[in-house]
């Protein structure tokens, strides 16, 4: 077998290897060097990792199993330092290796502005996972400030990610507007406004003079003398092809390594691919052309003939919520005409540049749904005279009456490009769906690569799936509860009632579960549905509860537990605080913290100690705060009329009353409430699952807010006059949610599914329905309001807290 050595395990060489192994897995014995201590990952998705929207594991392209399965010898973490073309040998840190064919795929390195202080710790570039992790680490510090130098694609993605992590972020940009290479001034302005709305400060015409600091970075000084504080400086000002080893080896190198259309360098046994190459004077910095190069290179290695051609490129910004697209050329020119559409209210801006009856450039901001269509017009140089007047409204307005989006997709020609990153056209997707019988988005991704890189084309791919598969594909199709059944949560809930199923084995039997005892996903869900539907008859299945709910404390990363007692409405007393202090001393509890839910958390308690801790807390009158429960957690309050000069009602008393009424109840997901004494809203009621704002005339009841993974202000349920009415309405709403919610679905998601109006109708208008919900809740509380801690202090589930046996070391090892 011929020996193929690859330098650099990045996105380009990864695609070469994939194509090679798909076509002829036995052609080469492959060794892969990578300077980074890991294999190929989807570098362009580092920004979602930075912002926390994805984990690194989710963006790995080739894992260990893939390399092993394809017999690739991996030398990761080893930089290649030289190539000896005479002896056909490369030298890495750990020794030499001979090759028959060699691929250089070293990508590029970030450009560092040559200013004083650039070597200080805390000054980094944005290129790989290590940079990303450094940013995540620094952002963990409270009040840390970041400065991003460079307002291009990369810099803005870094800024948005750091901001989402809670840092104060300033972007310094040399030119007059952001992303000046891709955007015109107007779009640059909209982008700036959007970023400022997210709390990112933008300074244009800002030239960095010096980076300040002694042991680590402390700030940045601009040319005009301005000094900005910084704990982190990210340089995102451009990249330089990594060509040192190619230069040393005497290969032809201009700005990057020169290659021919077969991706061959000046040495016929050495190929190059990716950002480190130059073809016909062009350099590359986006993945689409690299993937084209990779295909050509794989073919060259197998002796097939193909040629790389440079195509028009388009750019999208991957900052969630900032839709931006640009392609082609949009500099102003004498024979060029502009068509511009603005909708300031919606933040939409579109600009087309036309020259000689052809579209040559397009910039879109705010609405990029038709960008692929425009991009095709540019690439294919389609004459546009006939649609000139309506062109800017997009494909839906061409040829008579407006088309719906589906028809617009249907009307796309077969070679229309759908996935820009991977160069996948329409017919390749529809063809694969038909030929291979694909039915899910994941399958389409696996077979065609469409939508598998930056993901902005996912909607289009789904529309193509609907077109090809008809009703057989429904992107919103009800998903089965888990791998053990084909039934959805709704089906299961309905059937539990209809067939009067009253135990988990009964459900699994009657509803034809495909596994003997379910899994960690369906068992807790079934257990909740049964508890909620048959409060008096169903015996809670303890082994189907997640550990926290089984031992009534929160498991911590080291296997210890935390304990959070209830502090009704956030109010406490010297006696309670003293009892907590005594427990902390007695059990040497390492951390005591005030939670975001107005109460006290004791962290790091050994499991064996839990019952004794609870016993002492119980003596002082505490019950479990259920900080672990898919159930009622907290009711935050403010000081209200008791003390506050603005208070309109007794918000503290009302909150305590609600908490005392509702504690112990299980709900589909956790349930958090708050009562504020006036619209100043100090208890933050308008981002809770259920919130109450007291006003002079009574009480506004809010619901369906979110302030965790999603952030969403509440919706108004309605206004009531008395606190008795508040209680009845709130309880009825909670019960409706308990009866209909899917397991782990918070109120705001449930409400979106059911419809706000329907909920308002049942709770505010249909008095009989409200009363019935209320009464069902009251009934179920009879079986729920038992303090789980005192139960366990009196011996319940004793086995949980003690090891079953302790073996002597000597008894085992001799």
């Amino acid at each position: 077998m011929q020996k193929l050595v690859v330098i650099g395990a990045g996105m380009a060489s990864g695609r070469v290897l994939e194509t090679l192994f798909e076509t002829d897995p036995s052609a080469y014995e492959v060794t892969l060097f990578n300077a980074e201590p890991r294999g190929n990952y989807n570098r362009i998705m580092l920004s979602p990792v930075l912002s926390g929207e994805k984990s690194f594991e989710e963006i790995v392209t080739h894992d260990d199993a893939w390399y092993a399965g394809n017999h690739v010898t991996c030398r990761f973490g080893e930089k290649v330092v030289s190539i000896d073309r005479e002896r056909k040998i490369v030298t890495g840190k750990n020794g030499e290796l001979a090759y028959d064919k060699l691929i250089i795929a070293t990508g590029s390195s970030p450009f560092i502005v040559p200013v004083e202080g650039r070597d200080l710790p805390g000054v980094i570039a944005y290129r790989d996972l290590d940079d990303t992790n450094t940013m995540i680490e620094v952002s963990g510090d409270r009040e840390a400030r970041a400065i991003v130098i460079g307002g291009g694609l990369l810099g803005l993605e870094a800024a948005a990610g750091l901001r989402l992590r809670g840092m104060e972020v300033t972007v310094l940009h040399l030119s007059g507007h952001l992303m000046e290479r891709q955007l015109d001034e107007a779009a640059g302005f909209l982008l700036r406004k959007d970023l400022e709305k997210r709390g990112i400060e933008v300074m244009t015409k800002a030239s960095t003079q010096k980076i300040l600091g002694t042991d680590k970075v402390e700030g940045v000084e601009l040319a005009d003398g301005t000094v900005l504080k910084a704990d982190l400086v990210v340089m995102a000002v451009g990249i330089r092809p990594s060509v040192e080893i190619a230069k040393q080896a005497g290969l032809a190198v201009n700005r990057a390594i020169a290659v021919n259309a077969q991706m061959q360098t000046s040495d016929p046994d050495i190929y190059a691919v990716g950002e480190c190459v130059e073809y016909n004077g062009t350099l590359f910095g986006l993945v689409a052309p690299l993937y084209e190069q990779a295909k050509v290179l794989a073919k060259s290695l197998l002796g097939e003939n193909d040629a790389f051609v440079v195509k028009e490129l388009s750019t999208k910004l991957k900052v969630t919520g900032c839709d931006l697209f640009s392609a082609g050329d949009f500099a102003e020119g004498e024979i060029r005409e502009d068509v511009v559409l603005r909708d300031p209210a919606l933040g939409i801006y579109k600009r087309l540049v036309i020259e000689n009856d052809r579209l040559i450039g397009a910039v879109m901001y705010g609405d990029t749904s038709d960008s692929n269509w425009f991009f095709d017009l540019i690439r294919d140089k389609t004459p546009i005279a006939e649609m000139r007047d309506t062109l800017i409204f997009g494909p839906a307005y061409q040829g008579g009456s407006p088309l719906d989006p589906m028809a617009a997709v249907a009307a796309l020609p077969d070679d229309a490009e759908i996935c820009g990153c991977n160069g996948v056209c329409k017919v390749k997707i529809t063809g694969a769906i038909t030929a291979k019988g694909l039915t899910s988005l994941d399958e389409v991704r696996a077979h065609t690569k469409a939508s598998s890189s930056c993901g902005t084309c996912t909607g289009l791919v789904e529309q193509l799936m609907s077109l090809t598969l008809g009703d057989a594909f429904d992107p919103n199709a009800v998903k089965p509860m888990c791998g053990c059944t084909a039934l959805s949560h709704d089906d299961v809930r309905r059937l539990i009632k209809a067939k009067e199923l009253k135990s988990i084995p009964e459900v699994q039997q009657e509803l034809q579960w495909s596994t003997p005892n379910g899994c960690a996903k369906c068992r807790p869900a079934l257990n909740y549905y049964l508890v909620a539907d048959w409060p008096d008859e169903y015996a809670d299945d303890y082994q189907s509860r997640f550990i926290n709910e089984r031992v009534h404390a929160n498991i911590q990363k080291d296997g210890t537990y935390s304990v959070v007692p209830r502090m009704w409405g956030g109010v406490t007393s010297s006696k309670e605080l003293r009892a907590i202090a005594d427990v902390v001393d007695k059990f040497e509890i390492p951390t005591v913290k005030v939670t975001g839910g107005q109460r006290i958390d004791m962290l790091g308690i050994r499991k064996e100690d839990l019952p004794a801790v609870w016993a002492d807390l119980g003596q002082a009158g505490f019950v479990s705060g259920q900080a672990y429960a898919k159930g009622l957690r907290t009711v935050k309050t403010c000081v209200g009329t008791d003390w506050c000069r603005f208070g309109t009602q007794d918000s503290t008393g009302l909150g305590i009353r609600i908490e005392k009424f509702m504690w112990g109840s299980w709900t589909p997901a956790k349930l958090k409430m708050a009562v504020s004494g006036c619209p100043r809203n100090c208890a933050e009621a308008t981002c809770k699952d259920i919130g109450i704002i007291c006003v002079d005339s009574g009480f506004d009841i809010h619901f369906a807010g979110a302030a965790g993974l999603d952030i969403k202000g509440t919706e108004i349920l309605g206004h009531v006059d008395t606190d008795d009415e508040v209680l009845e309405h709130v309880v009825a709403l909670a019960q409706m949610y308990r009866e209909q919610g899917h397991y782990l679905e918070r109120i705001y998601k449930w409400a979106k599914r059911i419809g706000l109006d329907e909920i308002r109708r049942q709770i505010m208008k249909d008095h009989a329905a409200r009363r019935a919900y209320y009464e069902r809740f009251v009934f179920s509380q009879k079986f729920a309001q038992i303090d789980p801690w005192s139960e366990r202090v009196s011996g319940k589930d004793k086995h949980e807290f003690q090891p079953m046996a302790e073996l002597e070391f000597a008894q085992a090892a001799e």
């Binding site: 899994c519 550990i547 079953m804 046996a805 302790e806 073996l807 002597e808």
Partner: protein
Amino acid sequence: MTMIDRPWIGIGRIEDIPQLGARRIEAGYMTIGLFRTAGDEVFAIEDKCPHKGGPLSQGIVHDGCVTCPLHNMVISLTTGETQGPDEGTVRTFRTRIQDGEIQLSGEDLAAAANAVRAA
């Protein structure tokens, strides 16, 4: 190193473990999780997830596997191997039941202890 004379060590009764549940055994040098399935089989594996050391005995037991309580890795009770795309293995210990008494393989315990000592 002398061989132990009792090749099987009694550690308790099957009723001590809830069905589809688990208990811990403190062996000094490591904690062992003892699991009972729906079919009353008993398995012993090291109580330490290959991912980040999560206490497996606190997980949910299903179909000859346990799901780690910290980040949901699924581990086979029979082989100690992680299921699906994840990688990693935990040490397993042979068990047998004699008249309702659960016994652990002394040989496996010794091997584990020696491995820990060597490390």
